[in-house]
Symmetry: C2
Subunit: 442 residues, 2 copies
């Protein structure tokens, strides 16, 4: 899966980077809200008194923590290397991250994320907001061959929401988004009550926000419906229009390049307050209750060093969450548990070098092979292969019981078919060469 | 490099596993001597009082630390999964490890190791002690194509050393090995003095130990010289003979399968006391002062659950140390800094979809491509490619300044050659398709 993701990202020109697992704690805590999740490091032999004193005096700058996502490290990387990078800079990053959360279905304390981001120096054209979800659509689409269900990428644009809310007279945009973000969890009635109670909305304004959030679709009618709703509530907003133009451009491009995959969904809010344009979430069709497996958006400030600001757009696949669902739902299986396609049998320990020579010949042509661990009876050596799902057993040439010359033979232990074979020429069928992950039904 | 190592390991039937970054602290501290290097984890929001109390009362079992090698986690993995594994079990494991050491040239606090081990249940035949260094020789040999220098795998056998020392009348085998291990650092005179001072050896016994340690070679004469030395000192030892038979078998097999790579070197001691048979170190020829980049050996007890003991043999490549030397010595270079082989130029933002279509066509045939970020002047778009080392710029078909139809064209910006091309057919030369790591001189 990681190889497939990496290949797709690189076909689109994203350079792979890797950052260290730790960052200074003060960098990790910049956003505040995630502080509860961070694992802090301490060397076992460190002067205990010194460490404790640092903690009491709040010297977070000397402390190190494990990164909890790949965005904070990437921001640090961009600032540190800005002088050497060519912008816009496209990178992919596939690494483990750690969060001290309570583990549950699809949520782990150690998990793998696969991120792509493009970041500009000072500016970043809108077309990247179209390109990045399409790269993810392609990457996730490539995984269908191994049993990953169809995905649906849900997109929205912060400018649409903000323009509409402000046009309605609601200036607590953050507050409205926070309430709307709860729609899937508590339903429209309670969200409506929240909007009235917490953002000062009138029941009519709350109803309008809920009506906007109810709009979804994958064609030009989405923008028309939003405009009709705006007109109905007397909303006029240049920001809303700009957001609708952007959202429509994304939907139009997606209809050509990834038909049926990208859907505008005006209730997508994303909790994080730093998104400023497109926002994305991705669900597995038929497994929507798992939540989003690939999220992200446009941010106007990934990082800033005072002189320069670096806007970006990115998405992150929660690989472990995705894999855990594939396994728990029994959607995928591996064709075997070890790399080897062939076990070369050993007739006796004295003739092990002859078996090794067969293995060397096969490997030189890219065939994964192991040699039997002992010169047990052939039935036991076949069982050794069978237990590991290895399809072929090779019997090296030798002298038979009656003194006759016995040629090299290879047995397909699934069919029982055994044929004479030449180590310099024979190869397994392409689908048997390496273990493969396939849909469980195959 | 990691892809190449993984491929070689899998061609030999080693299954890849990955273990979590953390282990219980008491597991990590089982060997005692490495305690100073461990990073301990704490959740930031954890009740500080509780954590401190655990530390005071020594409740290491509740604490977690980052793994400092891949052997301790593998031992835990084997015990936990013994019921599901088929033995002998061959695994490779390529992961980061962490040690709180003082960083220096070739020594990092976070680094990557690439390990192979084979572990048996109850027993493990000697031939695996021959096989494993040969797999590493092949893996490291594959890296020569990208500029890794020739390697020399130095092998010894604990049975030879122990049999010889005991035959001499020296029973503090650990003590003698510890002193011999310092030969490269302090020289034979000081090691001789150490042997007399710390292991109770006579000057004659010390001289015999130093004479043994001075023997090296890659043919049958090694065993003969050791036997002659033993006879000269009146040493007779069945253990010594067994060790010499094993060492000779390894040297003989290596002479056939990896000529010139494996050398018997009787001074190789390895600090860790759990090795019981073959021991291995590996140096880069011409960079011996970097120390060993791939070490390991045979151990009779990787893990034990009381009922079963799991003997094994394994080696570990210090990938980060190897890479740091390749870079600092200027031995390797990358052919470009991004994956893309082609930049598709954009004539105007209105015709960006035409450029996207060219990119889609090329990618569908496995060619890494990016589309220019803006419809700047073509000279600027060529410069965009040049700065990243991307060899080709594609100019999409369109209408020229005089209204004529201009066909698709692709320019090799290294030679300046520009030719008409079809997005459905054109491909770069194989060596330009993906960025490659090559010897610096190439």
């Amino acid at each position: 899966m990681l190889d497939t993701l990496r290949r797709t990202f690189e076909l689109h020109g994203f350079a792979g980077i890797e950052t260290r697992a730790v960052e200074p704690l003060d960098q990790l805590l910049r956003k505040g809200e995630t502080s509860k999740e961070v694992y802090v490091l301490r060397r076992l032999q460190e002067e205990a008194a010194e460490g404790a004193a640092d903690e009491r005096s709040g010297k977070a700058d000397k402390q190190l923590g494990l990164h909890f996502d790949l965005t904070v490290p990437f921001a640090r990387y961009v600032l540190e290397n800005a002088g050497h990078l060519a912008f816009p800079f496209k990178r992919h990053q596939i690494q483990k991250v750690w969060r001290g959360e309570r583990p549950q279905d699809g949520r782990f304390r150690e998990f793998v994320q696969a991120d792509i981001d493009v970041v500009g120096a000072g500016e970043l054209p809108y077309h990247f907001e179209v390109e990045l979800p399409l790269v993810m659509a392609e990457a996730l689409g490539e995984l269908r061959a191994i049993g990953v269900p169809e995905v649906r990428i849900l997109v929205n644009n912060r400018k649409v929401a903000e323009g509409f809310y402000r046009g309605l007279g609601l200036d607590d945009v953050e507050g409205v988004l926070r309430s709307i973000d709860k729609l899937d969890k508590i339903g429209p009635d309670k969200v409506g009550a929240l909007l009235v109670a917490e953002t000062g909305a009138t029941p009519e304004q709350a109803a309008a926000c809920l009506a906007l959030a109810a709009i979804s679709g994958s064609d030009a009618s989405v923008a028309e419906r939003v405009r009709a709703l705006a007109v109905g509530h007397g909303v006029t907003s240049e920001l809303l229009e700009e957001g609708l133009r952007e959202l429509s451009a994304l939907i139009d491009a997606a209809a050509v390049r990834a038909p049926g995959v990208v859907v505008a969904d005006l209730k997508i809010a994303r909790g994080l307050d730093y998104y400023t344009g497109s926002v994305y979430e991705t669900v597995l069709v038929g497994h929507e209750q798992l939540g989003s497996i690939c999220s992200g958006g446009r941010y106007d400030t990934l990082a800033s060093d005072g002189a320069n600001t670096y806007p970006g757009v990115g998405l992150s696949i929660g690989v472990s969450r995705l894999v855990s669902r594939l396994l728990s739902a029994g959607l995928v299986r591996s064709t075997r548990s070890v790399p080897s396609a062939v076990v070369v049998a050993v007739t006796s320990e004295e003739t092990r070098p002859a078996s090794d020579a067969v293995a060397v010949a096969l490997r030189s042509r890219g065939i994964p092979v192991e040699v039997a661990p002992s010169a047990a009876k052939f039935g036991k050596q076949i069982k050794f292969a069978d237990r590991r799902g290895i399809p072929f057993v090779w019997f090296p040439a030798g002298i038979g019981a009656d003194g006759e010359v016995v040629p090299h033979q290879v047995k397909d232990i699934r069919s029982g078919e055994q044929v004479a074979a030449d180590p310099a020429v024979w190869a397994p069928a392409e689908e048997d060469l390496w273990p493969r992950v396939v849909p469980a039904g195959e």
